[in-house]
Symmetry: none
Subunit: 407 residues, 2 copies
Amino acid sequence: MKTAIVTIGDEILIGQIVDTNSAWMAHKLTLAGFEVTETQSIGDNAKQIKDTIDCLSGRVDVILMTGGLGPTKDDITKKTLCEYFGTELAFDDSVLENIKNVISSFTSLNELTRNQAYVPKDCVVIQNKVGTAPITWFDYNGKVLVSMPGVPYEMRYVMENEILPRLQAKFDPEAYLKRVFIVRGYTESALAMHLEDFENNLPEGFGLAYLPSPGLVKLRLFVRGEHRLDELDEHVKKLQGLLGEAILAEKDLPAEKLLGQRLFEKGLTLGTAESCTGGNIAHMITSIPGSSNYFKGSVVSYANEEKINILHVAKESLDKFGAVSEAVAIEMAQGAQRILNVDCSIATTGIAGPAGGTEEKPVGTVWICTRYKDKCVAQKYQLGRYRESNIIRASNLGMVQLLDMLG
Amino acid sequence: MKTAIVTIGDEILIGQIVDTNSAWMAHKLTLAGFEVTETQSIGDNAKQIKDTIDCLSGRVDVILMTGGLGPTKDDITKKTLCEYFGTELAFDDSVLENIKNVISSFTSLNELTRNQAYVPKDCVVIQNKVGTAPITWFDYNGKVLVSMPGVPYEMRYVMENEILPRLQAKFDPEAYLKRVFIVRGYTESALAMHLEDFENNLPEGFGLAYLPSPGLVKLRLFVRGEHRLDELDEHVKKLQGLLGEAILAEKDLPAEKLLGQRLFEKGLTLGTAESCTGGNIAHMITSIPGSSNYFKGSVVSYANEEKINILHVAKESLDKFGAVSEAVAIEMAQGAQRILNVDCSIATTGIAGPAGGTEEKPVGTVWICTRYKDKCVAQKYQLGRYRESNIIRASNLGMVQLLDMLG
């Protein structure tokens, strides 16, 4: 079942907002067995909306549109759909009832909101239980077009509770089976070369996709059809054999969630001592709700003075080896473990760039030390030239290095 | 100049990643005078790529494609463009040289990476100085199609340094004149109501756009055409009169850059003590190159123990008022200033959510204390229900609060 997602709104086209609806919808649709073949963002423009429906109707079975359903003048989706399908707007009392229920709790009904109860005559109207813009569902030539609000929480509610169940009942699509592996220690190209034979010998219908993120590669093995589950499991075993220890996890989770789960399961606490990552590891870890269960704090020691005064790094180590050195990374990790009173620590010191590099220690040189109780690993990484990417990579590598120690 | 953005990659269509590239590109293109009329995401599928170029070539002047340029088998954009434009791949030594320069610092050249140096014969090849996938630029029928990598930092680098300058040189779009104001103390709707008359009386062609970011609103007044500069200045003066002190800056810069510039100009140093922001202020500040000139470090005191042991917050204050309180925020800021030995400090303590709220202190309650030498401001903010947004808002508010004190 081929599906297209269309988001309508000028604010997307001038880059004022990031369209997060499409990814959410695509994820849910994929899991429900629908194949999303394209997504589009277009303006609040009648001709463009009609042209887009024309084009897509030749290629897909289902068109899901969000946006352009607000009560103000610039929202024209409903009117345009009437023109496209040759129908007209009519007042619907049941929609008005629903609108009154929705708004009763927080505001009174004004004229613009009341006008939301005008809906196209020849379509299925689905009540929006969390907002004032009704959902309209058009069946035409064996295809379906649904128009729904673009407000993220409204869209999510109506997709999960109204639209996905109806689409599944109507089309009964084949299940999408997938397994995700988080792989460490390979670049994307090295991993692809390692898996070349495996990939070439995958049966018809199977796919292997690579999604690199700094320091890790996310690998996705997938196929459609419930009846291919055994085959999938068989190939998962082959992959496990080929990758062995390189598999960091078989879950589709970022490093900060994997580390958080591992720490929580083991009842361990964590602290960080960050120089070149500047607090980003702490930030990534605390972006996860509930992280206060295992994360106690961090010392961002951007200046040497802070490394000495707070983390108790020896001035001699700084003088002798420099801030970016194994000795300093180790002392930072020890200091963090002691003064934060934690079971595990991650320490980073490096040259994020663009300035600060030398011949001996070019931009991208990073020492990372991780401690788990009295075990200690210190490792040097040579990253790239770009500050933003170096900060993210060093953060991921630090978390992965600790995950490795935790087993 | 009508422009379309096409992002290529199955990972977008299964909802594995959110496409943030399109919004970033749309924003930059708009500012450069190009009108983005649509964005599309399509799969790594040759027919779909060709059909999309066919369709778009009838509607726009410029097609910017990202993605599908990796070294692995699922990446087919380059090959498909050859088929579409009736050319073939040829090995390019200068691209290989560039690839060697890019990777030399952190890894060795393998065969798949070497193959990145195959490029279409009949196109302009632009070196990618930050990655291994070259950029290809096709001129055809007075139109332009550019294919570039989808890795966000690579895309951003090549857009800013290579593609936008060339597009501007080629098409010379009517200058897009704009003035940006960073406005504090208003919600988006309150600001819109305050500026209603001003907005209604803007001359033909002028626009006013609101971009709310957590804790601030970015206001953009714009018009096309160099000859309207005087008119623009006249309306800028009106806006300045209407907004007065609410204007935090007249530069299109994020708070961490504004604060960094101000600190640097005044020769001041900064440290942070972060609880609910979990290191995000330190991370934002250190994301700016050169921040080591003014930023000395941070204590992320996620647990009470760290507030007491490292920042020397009084246990009595924590017991009597709780961690989220004026007293604790003040003591954290004092502690940070003293132990980090800095001129200025920002301290945050609050309930980011989703758990941890009480009737008295619901999720979103945040105390922020800022110190500048012996001056001290402590303020309570009631933010929203969403963790991610609360962390960013509190971070921005902390930096703005300190900017206010610096004058």
